[in-house]
């Protein structure tokens, strides 16, 4: 079977539609509630779902995701329980591509080979590991060569510059462009050279270019809509869920609204 992320991105590309990815901290409000939220987002037409595996020291995350992560750990969420939940969702027929966003220690502690095997068994399609830059990926990549292995999403930053060709070479799925320096959830303050940077990434790859960090509404990405293939919303969505008491309807409506606005401009 083709990787779900690769397939979903290709399908959108064919229709000239933008992709929309949302981020959830796994285990909130609890594992069952999380499963319902995921199903709701599939229904709302989200392209890929990013599940943040909580970690004690989320050094790439801002206060919103830190707090969510802490809360989820306190409730006992761990990577094994999230694997299990995804496996159950797949059994129930979930087709939505699932990405794990997690820190390298979680993968390393689990065991690289076992981790990749669990991804395959449970239906996890991709990985985002913010503290694993290109230079450190060798060890894990050796286990990702199997055709059914999850794709490792490559991150590019506004200051990557001459590193861009190195990073995008051999990349799969899509390229994740962070909109600003620093951590997740800084709200709308994008890097001053954002356009130049996104163009540079686009010129080095045929993969879809996705932008994330600090995005709240589709309006935030309008100035660069011509340069990207879609948007990723993390902290804002996590916050919205927290404030609404993890209301499925709020989650679904937000996703539909974002997609509508995103396509209204294209």
């Amino acid at each position: 079977m083709e990787n779900r992320i690769v397939a979903a991105m290709a399908a959108l590309g064919g229709k000239k539609e933008k992709a929309f990815i949302t981020y959830l901290t796994a285990g909130l409000p609890d594992l069952e509630g999380m499963k319902e939220l995921i199903l709701e987002q599939e229904a709302a037409g989200v392209t890929v779902l990013e599940l943040g595996i909580p970690f004690s020291d989320p050094a790439a995350d801002g206060p919103v995701i830190q707090a969510a992560s802490y809360q989820s750990i306190k409730q006992g969420t761990n990577v094994r329980s999230v694997f299990q939940a995804v496996k159950e969702l797949r059994k129930e027929g979930l087709g939505l591509p699932i990405l794990f966003m997690l820190y390298y220690n979680t993968v390393y502690h689990y065991g690289l080979s076992d981790f990749v095997t669990s991804c395959i068994d449970c239906g996890v399609d991709g990985l985002i590991i913010p503290d694993l830059p290109k230079e450190e990926q060798g060890e894990l990549s050796a286990y990702l060569e199997r055709a059914d292995a999850p794709v490792l999403i490559q991150l590019v930053s506004p200051v990557s510059k001459e590193r861009i060709p190195l990073i995008v070479e051999g990349a799969k799925g899509f390229i994740y462009c962070v909109s600003a320096m620093g951590v997740t959830g800084q709200g709308g303050s994008f890097h001053k050279e954002l356009r130049e940077y996104l163009s540079a990434v686009g010129s080095h790859t045929n993969l879809p270019v996705m932008m994330g960090f600090g995005i709240r509404t589709a309006k935030d990405v309008l100035p660069v809509a011509d340069l990207i293939d879609g948007a990723i919303v993390g902290s804002h969505f996590v916050n919205l869920l927290m404030e609404s008491g993890y209301d499925r309807k709020v989650a679904g409506e937000y996703c539909r609204e974002f997609k509508r606005e995103l396509h209204a401009v294209v």
Binding site: F55, D57, A60, I73, T106, H109, V159, R163, V178, Q186
Partner: protein, 389 residues
Amino acid sequence: MSEPYYGEYGGQFVSESLMNILQELEVAFHAAITDTDFLKEYHYYLKQYVGRPVPLYHANRLSEAYGTKIYLKREDLNHTGAHKINNVIGQILLAKRMGKKKVIAETGAGQHGVATATGAALFGMECTVFMGAEDMKRQALNVFRMEMLGAKVVQVTSGSNTLKDATNEALRTWAKYAEDTFYVIGSAVGPHPYPRMVKEFQRIISVEAKQQILEQEGRLPDVVMACVGGGSNSIGMFAEFLEERVRLIGVEAAGFGIDTGKHASAMALGKPGILHGMKSYLLQDFDGNVALAHSISAGLDYPGVGPEHAYLKDSGRVTYACVTDEEAMAALTELCRLEGIIPAIESAHALAYAKKYAKEMTAEQVMVVCLSGRGDKDVHTVAEYFREK
């Protein structure tokens, strides 16, 4: 350029935003330490400002009590009261050379924060120090000192509110402002080239000690001992002895005891993991979350350890031991009474193991112990500890 790994440990496990910055730092660092003008300036400040060389003191009464000849490398006599300033002078001179106007630092006990605030004042830089809320309580005096020196102290209230969380927050801030901000890391930890850089700027400890012991004893010591939290005073103390036939011992904090689970001995019970940009021994729970360290000493209260130490442990070149809060406090008291020196609780860990290890040594053998800092900052903690006993 130098190798980012020590065996399987070290590396650069940071966000992509920092990779170019680390590269720039590495280039600047290598250019600096091979530049005689830079080294001249570094040594000028060590001599005229920090007060080096510091003595290698033959602790006569302590030697008698412990049964072997003990020399103390008096890092406590440095300006600001600990070895931390050696590294800060080096890194701030490097920051200046790179044209950075702002520095940030993390601190546990507050010694590195005070040293960074001092260096920033000396060279006219803006300084922000991240400190865990818990540590701010334990080390209120150092918070006040940093503020007097013009630094802004940011209280960190995430995770365990201690050094590891302060380091996370410093890393987050650095990832955002790295374009004009230099991160002064205080221990031999973090992504490459930090562990190497900190070792180079702390090497002065053993450069002096080696010369001093040869002057006083006419030979190298049998044993060199230092406490290990992240491992900066110890790596500096070991550096010049690594290639010599000298037994090297690092002493970690065993807190309430290794078996209680409340300790900070990454190498006694940790397994390799990734935190703060490096792969090294790390205390973790069953799920791979970082476990909380415990030590009465804020400076040793860290769940990881510098990657070169992890390598030196595996290779067997350095032996790592640990002592409990109780043993450290007893040794602290003994040094006060026998030598009229109030050591930092961190340094007292090395003294406590020196006492144990001396039992295996003869009266003629020689041991050098790194007295990494003075205990003024700990008086409150000490008072509370003995009141509760």
